[in-house]
């Protein structure tokens, strides 16, 4: 469980998050939704110690994020962000290999190579392993970075907008892979999602943020209702049930 207690964050005086208290359940996929500027990525960054916590507390499976050694946390929690500035010219295989750093600190052992193989296979990257990152399409790039997070073999996998820039074919394929990981792989996945229907179709738990505050949380069926979503995004949104899943009609 990731326990978030009274978390507040300000950037240059402007409140980004205000008094968020929340438990993210272990196992399954948790989707964080909300309008732009709701503080989703900031929440993610605070959970993964990318940003210093100003007020409040975050515990990952009982480990306080600020006080636990960062290299120990790296064995519990992996994060893949969308802002990546890679200085080296990297091959896919090298990138995924770096996911093993928390375990070997520069001296890869046989089990590290096996973990990299598994991650490459899980994301269909075996044939691309010798390609350079700058020769890949956006979707392949995204997959490579998530595979790096996977190779880290942590209980928690945090993904900041993994579906960004993906067409529907690749978005669905990626979600299916992440879903499989959360089931067979035993990973707990937390992800920021923009397209609500992906949350509706794949998430086990939905957290809704608005203006830096927790708006709602619970099972998709309970959170993704027409009145709640209309309120959350400030526009008229219809929700229909199709094949037993809520389907959000937000485009017209």
């Amino acid at each position: 469980m990731i326990a978030i207690r009274n978390l507040s964050h300000r950037i240059g005086g402007a409140p980004i998050l205000t008094d968020v208290t929340l438990d993210l359940p272990k196992d399954g996929i948790t989707a964080i939704i909300g309008p732009n500027g709701a503080g989703k990525s900031t929440l993610m960054g605070l959970m993964a110690r990318l940003l210093p916590i100003q007020e409040g507390k975050v515990e990952v499976d009982g480990l306080c994020v600020t006080r636990t050694r960062t290299d120990l946390l790296a064995k519990r929690l992996a994060i893949v962000t969308q802002r990546v500035g890679v200085a080296s010219r990297l091959r896919v295989g090298d990138l995924v290999g770096f996911g093993r750093w928390p375990h070997h600190h520069g001296r890869p052992r046989p089990e590290d190579h096996e973990a990299v193989e598994r991650a490459l296979e899980a994301f269909d990257l075996v044939e691309l392993r010798d390609r350079f990152l700058d020769e890949l399409s956006g979707g392949q790039n995204q997959r490579a970075f998530i595979a790096m997070g996977l190779a880290q073999e942590t209980d928690w996998l945090l993904l900041d907008e993994p579906l960004n820039n993906l067409d529907m074919y690749h978005a669905r394929a990626l979600m299916a892979r992440i879903h499989a990981l959360s089931r067979a792989g035993g990973r707990s996945v937390v992800m920021v999602v923009h397209d609500i229907n992906y949350a509706a179709a794949w998430a086990d738990h939905v957290v809704a943020l608005k203006d830096g505050r927790l708006a709602d949380q619970g099972a998709p069926r309970d959170v993704l209702t027409a009145p709640k979503l209309s309120e959350l995004f400030g526009m008229e949104i219809g929700v229909e049930e199709i094949n037993g899943r809520p389907t959000v009609l937000h485009h017209a």
């Binding site: 960062t70 994060i79 500035g85 080296s88 010219r89 990297l90 090298d94 770096f98 001296r107 700058d134």
Partner: protein, 314 residues
Amino acid sequence: MPDKRLLALGAALLAACAFFLFWGLKGPTGFILELRATKLAALLLVGAAVGISTVVFQTVTGNRILTPSIMGFDSLFLLVQSLMVLTMGSLGYAMADGPAKFLLDTALMMAASLALFSLLMGRGRGDLHRMILVGVIFGLFFRSMTAFVLRLIDPSEFAVVQQVMFASFGAVDTTQLAMAAALFVPVFAAIWKLAPALDIVALGRDSAIGLGLRHDRLSTVLLLLVAALVAVSTALVGPVSFLGLLVAALAHQLMQTPRHVLLLPAAALISGLVLVIGQGVFERILGLQSTLAVIIEFFGGLLFLYLVLGGRRR
């Protein structure tokens, strides 16, 4: 097993050193060899320092175009020198030349470079346009300050400053060389120990922290080490603006790897090779001294333009 490309570079460097030492050896052999050996040591030491510091700097700041010198570092060096001449007079400046001045130069340059580098960190990291702008503006600022100070000093004293305006491997003081070596060895060792972590730093701040690296602290340590290397080599031979850029680009091109365990030695070897061959050809064959810096600046400058205008931006 050592990398084949590194072995080839090492062999080439050995050959270049032999050429530098023994080509056209006439007259009092012992005396000339000693002179040449000192020069060779300076070339190798400065080469390694410039190559390694540039690769580390580019990894930490997350870009492939800027180097400490392009950030206005050499203009700062000139400014400090001309200020010294202004305050102490050319006689005082010439008298002060020695270990004390060398240490003072180094300390001043280290402090200044840290201030300069800290501008690159923080929120602007990875913002290439901002970094180039900062570098160009500071370079310009230091240069015009230097020009201003040069107006104030005597024409005869101007000649003294002019001597340090181009890198010179011609007159290297052996005491300074020994001091530089004593400083370089622990710095090289520290960087070598951090080489695997540098691979992770190159992934960017978020990924590095996610993988459990204490990124911010490590970056500061690395920039400190870079500052030490750059300061000492500048104090030793003067500014070589584009050598670092040239060497780092060649090292990345040759090795095609993200692993700094390979990149760092490659950069050091290539840098030594460029300097030793360049200086050797100029001194022994063309008979022209102290113009190596000009040639390096010329090709380095062309490469810089290529990288900015046409090449890859990272």
